[in-house]
Symmetry: C2
Subunit: 282 residues, 2 copies
């Protein structure tokens, strides 16, 4: 058993720790998480380590990116388990601030992003990306890493963060990490823990439907017909479909025919009370 | 004649310059301006120098804090004159980015502040503080100073910046500098250059009316009556009054009776096509 990484719960604490590393000439990587860590998160830590001597992981369930109707209070929390997993991948420090440390009394600032944040998730979670952009900006400013790694399961979020960092000129390299999947194709997600055994058996249909649509489009099927078929397949399997869309991979603008660059197929669908998202390159 | 300070027009340029100073153990001060420098700006540079070995001054007329109907294109610009004035106070570098460097194609991020930004200027310039907060956040992130000095003529802006810096945990100390005035009391402002000789003769009435109101309130006159008298005095002098208000100096919340902390009297009024603002502590 490795020792759990040291944990800072204040900005001053993590900043001092990172400053000492930087003064010693070490590069610092950063993986922001909401905890409830799984193998996907641990893969992000390994990726961060490849370009940095030190890796900081933040664990913060950010209340401002949940709507009142969403699963903020039910979101899985297990800091002890998280620390044990992070010890296994030799994370160098954990930043686990309290809500008060992040949003003290009188807090009144919001960072919002347009561009890639328009549509898709925003159509179903209108406050989501303002919450994400504000907390990610705060975390990047607090930790001050050289490189930050984000999972591509939240592909739209990855592009929003990349836009935010470019626009504010935050001095950090943003790296995306491909989706980690279960053997049956289900994208790893902390929310998979919500699924009943029956729902868990159905959940891989999202990836299957996306893969089928991608194959069809590549073999010449009209994109709208293929997307429509994917939505139908998911609905027939018991999902309530939020969206299945084909977008430009660089900025999530609507895909043209013929495309002028790489494309991405993105989906969100609900199975019972669990909302799942997934995406694949085309 | 001193030599003009070196000028960087890119974030990479000013960042490299500041990094070299910091590596040499020097503290860095920062004074953001829109150019058209006057003695008030030069006083800010001297204040910054008192707590830093190096002082950077930015000159950037930020388009996003002007409404389409406002004076963005007419705003006075004189970089050569500004550089000469900055040489006289031995500023160490000027950051004068182009609009494209600050807002490249695809730019889609906005920083907005509530709290002290609510009311007063916002009632008359609804987009002003989102423009200010975004550009100040970008400038502070680009330059990365230890201390930044803001003039208290724009008192509400000073509090908005202080809020923004606290909320985003930007690692910079925000310092306010008292208003510099002409001998007749008029607050120094780049926009004073718009005034006709007749308007210039009338303009000191703002400070006179604020001073009179402050004296009256201190000697027991009801605050609302004193504010109303100040508005009347300005209107009688030919101003169109936007506001004359008494607020808590810490956060600009409405002043209670009796007050629970320091207060501030703030005014904005238009004289012909020129909008003037001023404020005094109570």
């Amino acid at each position: 058993m490795s020792t759990p990484p040291p944990t800072d719960d204040t900005v001053a604490g993590i900043r001092a720790r990172v400053a000492a590393w930087r003064a010693a000439g070490e590069r610092v990587g950063f993986v922001p998480t909401m905890g409830a860590l799984h193998a996907g998160h641990l893969a992000l830590v390994r990726t961060a380590r490849r370009s940095a001597e030190r890796v900081v992981v933040s664990v913060f369930v950010n209340p401002t990116q949940f709507a009142p109707t969403e699963d903020f209070s039910a979101y899985p929390r297990d800091l002890a388990g998280d620390l044990s997993k992070l010890a296994s991948v030799e994370a160098d420090a954990v930043f686990a601030p309290t809500t008060t440390e992040m949003y003290p009394q009188g807090f009144a600032t919001q960072v919002s992003v347009g561009g890639p944040a328009i549509g898709l998730e925003t159509d179903f979670r209108p406050h989501f990306f303002a919450g994400v952009a504000t907390v990610v900006a705060k975390l990047l400013i607090a930790v001050g890493p050289d490189v930050a790694v984000f999972g591509e399961k939240d592909f739209q979020q990855f592009l929003v963060v990349r836009r935010l960092v470019a626009d504010l000129r935050l001095p950090v390299e943003v790296v995306g990490h491909p989706i980690e999947r279960e053997a049956d194709g289900l994208a790893l997600s902390s929310r998979n823990a919500y699924l009943s055994p029956e729902e868990r058996a159905t959940a891989p249909e999202i990836y299957a439907a996306l893969t089928e649509a991608a194959l069809a489009i590549r073999s010449g099927t009209d994109a709208q017909a293929a997307l429509s078929a994917a939505r139908g397949r998911l609905a027939a399997s018991g999902f309530v479909v939020d969206y299945v869309e084909l977008r430009n991979a660089e900025d999530l603008s609507p895909a043209e025919t013929p495309p002028h660059g790489p494309l991405r197929l993105l989906a969100a669908a609900r199975l019972g009370r669990t909302r799942l998202i997934d995406n694949i390159p085309l």
